[in-house]
């Protein structure tokens, strides 16, 4: 055999060992003046252009680069940001925003009302093809301009009256308008730079910002590096650098956290039980509702008694136990932490009453009930929920639901073209006002796949949006919620989601937010544990 075999093997082994052992070991986190906060983003932000961003990841980054007229405080109430104050006319349709005069872009220029006017009209410009253009449809002529029914943008209801005074004219009173101006799509933009650089104006070396951080580096599909913006008007930014690693696989992010390469990660549902009692575990309920909708156009769910029977046959308290992510069981639709949330609304778990309503509808003991399918998009959480609901409906109503899961885009197409008898969807808040949740189910609404409509409901939602009196507004939403989840039971609210994180003990000032937004300007790292 080979005489050189042994020597070769030895050499190879020694080389491999040297290769590994002589390599420098990855260093840990820095702190204090050199603070570097590292966390994982689940996906690449599709864009950092505020007019085009629609997803949570992009918006999370943009919120740390740009600031608009208003921003949310810890209770998600709109407070002044670039606007120092605002006034609204008696009819509720004209808003005047007075801008601070000490807000600068990162290149030193002042932020002016023109930057807002340009940004808002750009959002509405049909050529921008912004998905969130409808956010500003309440502005005069905005919808017509976006839909090319008028050609010029001069008549759109936003105008810079002076460098620091912005006037907004609405088609109807919108009491939550200062919440809309905190949305990332309404931040000011620089016309000169966008016209100069086109699509590439968000490249790190070209992007000019007015928020706490500036974009230092963007290695696509890998990492974004944000650096403290020294021109920021809103006080000292405590951490010099924020690094957002794009890590699709959450277990990889967890391994990196465990091995000291990250300061914050999102937990997968299956990892939560292992960390629930950990001091680094953070659970944050979200303004995100998860529901089952009925196709009310066809039997058997065109009968509200059947829908109510289903809703009452489900014990929602089982869901947090199987999902274990700190979900909050839901029977009403406006989430906790939002104005007009009322946990007393909605149908309680009551199998006896459910069976009675089902019998009244002509299906005693579940007999002669047609075969129906429960559809959901393929996903671990959706699968667990569907199996549980299937079991509960069988147990409490003696009805067998067949489960039908499909790929996400196929599922969305199916919802539009051939709505399943029972389907799953969820909704996360675009702005923390009940209008955003309740508006979903107005008659013929694009997101209302149930086919259900109720003129009284529509009227309540429309009136509540314009009602400046909190008590009467609350009562309108209360009545509307009762129609939606009790009398008509067009949907079955199941739970409100929560976010589960691990945050290192030496990270301070990290405030999770029910809208899945994180502001890093208050974050710092110290030697002391929090």
């Amino acid at each position: 055999m080979f005489y050189f075999r042994e020597n070769m093997l030895k050499t190879a082994l020694i080389s491999v060992l040297l290769f590994i052992l002589l390599a420098p070991v990855h260093s840990g986190a820095a702190s204090g003046e050199d603070c570097r906060f590292r966390f994982s983003l689940g996906t690449e932000p599709p864009t950092l252009d505020p007019s085009l961003a629609t997803d949570g990841t992009s918006i999370l980054v943009i919120e740390n680069l740009m600031e608009g007229l208003t921003q949310f405080d810890q209770n998600l109430l709109p407070v002044p940001a670039v606007a120092k104050k605002w006034e609204v006319s008696k009819d509720g349709k004209t808003w005047l925003f007075y801008l601070r005069e000490d807000v600068h872009w990162s290149d030193g220029k002042k932020v002016t009302a023109d930057d807002f006017e340009y940004s808002w009209k750009r959002l509405l410009n049909p050529e921008t093809a912004s998905e969130y253009a409808y956010f500003l449809y309440d502005l005069e002529n905005a919808e017509a301009y976006n839909q090319k029914k008028i050609s010029g943008q001069e008549s759109v209801g936003v105008k810079a009256l002076s460098p620091f005074l912005l006037r907004v004219r609405l088609v109807k009173p919108v009491v939550y308008f200062p919440s809309l101006t905190a949305f990332s799509g309404t931040v000011p933009l620089r016309r000169d730079l966008i016209e100069k650089y086109g699509d590439h104006w968000t490249d790190p070396e070209k992007m000019v910002v007015n928020g706490p951080y500036r974009l230092k580096e963007w290695r696509h599909e890998y990492k974004l590096t944000l650096e403290k913006n020294r021109a920021y008007y809103g006080g000292e930014v405590l951490c010099g650098t924020v690094e957002a690693f794009i890590i699709n696989e959450r277990s990889t992010a967890l391994t990196l956290y465990e091995t000291g390469s990250l300061d914050m990660v999102f937990l997968t549902p299956e990892a939560i039980p292992s960390y629930r009692n950990d001091r680094e575990y953070v659970n944050q309920p979200l303004l995100r509702g998860y529901y089952y909708g009925f196709n009310t156009r066809v039997p058997p769910f065109n009968d509200s008694r059947v829908r109510r029977a289903f809703s009452m046959a489900i014990d929602r308290s089982e869901l947090p136990r199987i999902l274990s992510g700190g979900e909050v069981p839901a029977k009403s639709w406006i989430p906790p932490g939002m104005f007009a949330h009322d946990p007393s609304i909605g149908l309680d778990f009551n199998p006896m009453e459910a069976a009675r309503q089902l019998a009244e509808a002509g299906y005693p003991g579940g007999k002669r009930f047609p075969s129906v399918r429960l559809a959901f998009n393929t996903d671990a959480v959706n699968g667990l929920v569907a199996e549980n609901i299937q079991a509960q409906i069988k147990r409490n109503l003696n009805i067998t639901l067949s489960l039908d899961n499909m790929e996400w885009k196929v599922y969305l197409k199916k919802l539009q073209l051939d709505t399943p008898a029972v389907f799953r969807l969820s909704w996360g808040a675009d702005y923390p006002d009940p209008d955003n949740f309740m508006n979903l189910f107005i008659t013929g609404g694009g997101n209302n796949h149930t086919g259900w409509g109720n003129p009284r409901y529509d009227r309540l939602i429309s009136e509540a949006a314009a009602d400046p009196d909190p008590a009467s507004r609350r009562s309108k939403y209360g009545e509307a919620q009762k129609i939606l989840t009790e009398t008509d039971a067009a949907i079955i609210p199941l739970f409100f989601s929560a976010q589960n994180l691990l945050v290192r003990r030496n990270v301070h000032g990290f405030i999770p937010n029910a809208m899945e937004l994180f502001s890093f300007k208050t974050v710092w790292k110290g030697d002391q544990e929090r």
Binding site: M1, F2, Y3, F4, I20, L21, A23, P24, H26, E44, P46, T47, D49, L52, T54, P126, E127, T128, A129, S130, E131, A133, Y134, E143, N146, Q147, D199, H200, T202, R219, H220, E221, Y222, F245, I246, I247, N248, E249, T252, A253, T255, L256, E258, T259, S261, E407, W408, K409, V410, Y411, L412, K413, K414, Q416, L425, S426, W427, D430, G446, N447
Partner: protein, 305 residues
């Protein structure tokens, strides 16, 4: 030789055209569109978006539009990543996958040859059986299991190598092993059986009878004559490794293009799907042409035919 390669390149152009055409029309058969969202867009806004990306044109016009762009090297805009073109995305990600693919290819070929030669030269003995057992393991272990195992051992337990990310050569070791070891196992089996096939040929017996050392018989005479099957598979293998692996890139958080083979489809990002498909096709064609060239080096009769 040059003529031989030039002919192969020319033949491959219509192949790429057919692939582009078939892929383009297949995309329209998949239900769901790029702008279908959980939050349904108002139809007017959807119309603005369709107009921006020419999705409001008839399919045949879209095809001509795409093909005319392709002819000038423009792969179009990405629908999922507004502001980035498919060219830019591939420009950013392909070199990463290329690097990882070449490193894995090196692992596959070197480990595959070593194990194959070892097994053949100890044919029927425990070394042979152990090498083949290992290669069966390598073949049957899915990437995410092997990768997770390597991360657990080298990153979490021994703390020798980083568990993920892409900062330098140390970050390449585990992903290259994960991607390359399965292929190595395959090559090891191929080399072994090919060497065993050839070991009873007369030229081998003659070489031994001349009194050449066994290593020289094996490396100079037997290996060269049994390398053709390895060359045959190495073309598609290289293409597969270079175009990246969804699983390995996902697991190790590597910014390569492999992920787009899946995510471009789930996002219905049509131009990106076209882009990655074409890159894959070009890499396969190129790898095969290189392999054909190598055939001609190993066996000069090929070029003469």
């Amino acid at each position: 030789m040059i003529l031989f390669l030039a002919r192969r390149v020319l033949i491959s152009l219509p192949v790429l055209l057919v692939i582009a055409t078939i892929t383009f029309f297949l995309l329209f058969l998949v239900p769901g569109g790029p702008f279908d969202r959980e939050k349904k867009l108002p139809p007017e806004i959807e119309a603005n978006i369709n107009a921006k990306y020419h999705l409001d044109l008839p399919v045949w016009k879209q095809y001509l539009f795409y093909m005319s762009g392709l002819a000038s090297g423009d792969l179009g805009p990405s629908y999922k990543y507004p502001g980035r073109s498919v060219n830019e995305i591939l420009h950013d990600t392909f070199p990463v996958s290329m690097k990882l693919g070449l490193a894995s290819f090196f692992v596959a070929i070197s480990a595959g040859l070593a194990f194959g030669i070892l097994a053949a030269s100890f044919h029927g003995r425990w070394v042979d059986r152990a090498a083949m057992l290992l290669s069966s393991g390598g073949l049957s272990l899915p990437g995410f299991v092997l990768g997770s195992g390597l991360i657990f051992l080298f990153s979490i337990k021994l703390r020798l190598l980083p568990p993920a990310l892409w900062e330098g050569w140390r970050y390449m070791v585990l992903p290259s092993l994960t991607l390359g070891l399965g292929a190595a196992a395959y090559i090891a089996r191929l080399v072994r059986s090919s060497l065993l096939d050839i070991s009873f040929h007369e030229f081998v017996r003659t070489a031994r009878a001349k009194g050449l050392p066994e290593s020289r018989v094996l490396l100079k005479h037997m290996l060269r004559n049994s390398i053709s099957p390895v060359l045959t598979v190495s073309g598609p293998l290289l293409a597969g490794l270079v175009t990246g692996s969804f699983v390995v890139e996902y697991l190790f958080s590597i910014p390569g293009m492999g992920r787009y083979f899946i995510t471009a489809v789930t996002n219905r990002d049509y131009p990106l799907i076209m882009g990655v498909t074409l890159v894959y096709a070009v890499v396969i064609v190129a790898a095969n042409i290189i392999v054909d060239g190598l055939y001609a080096v190993v066996d000069p009769r090929v070029a003469r035919r």
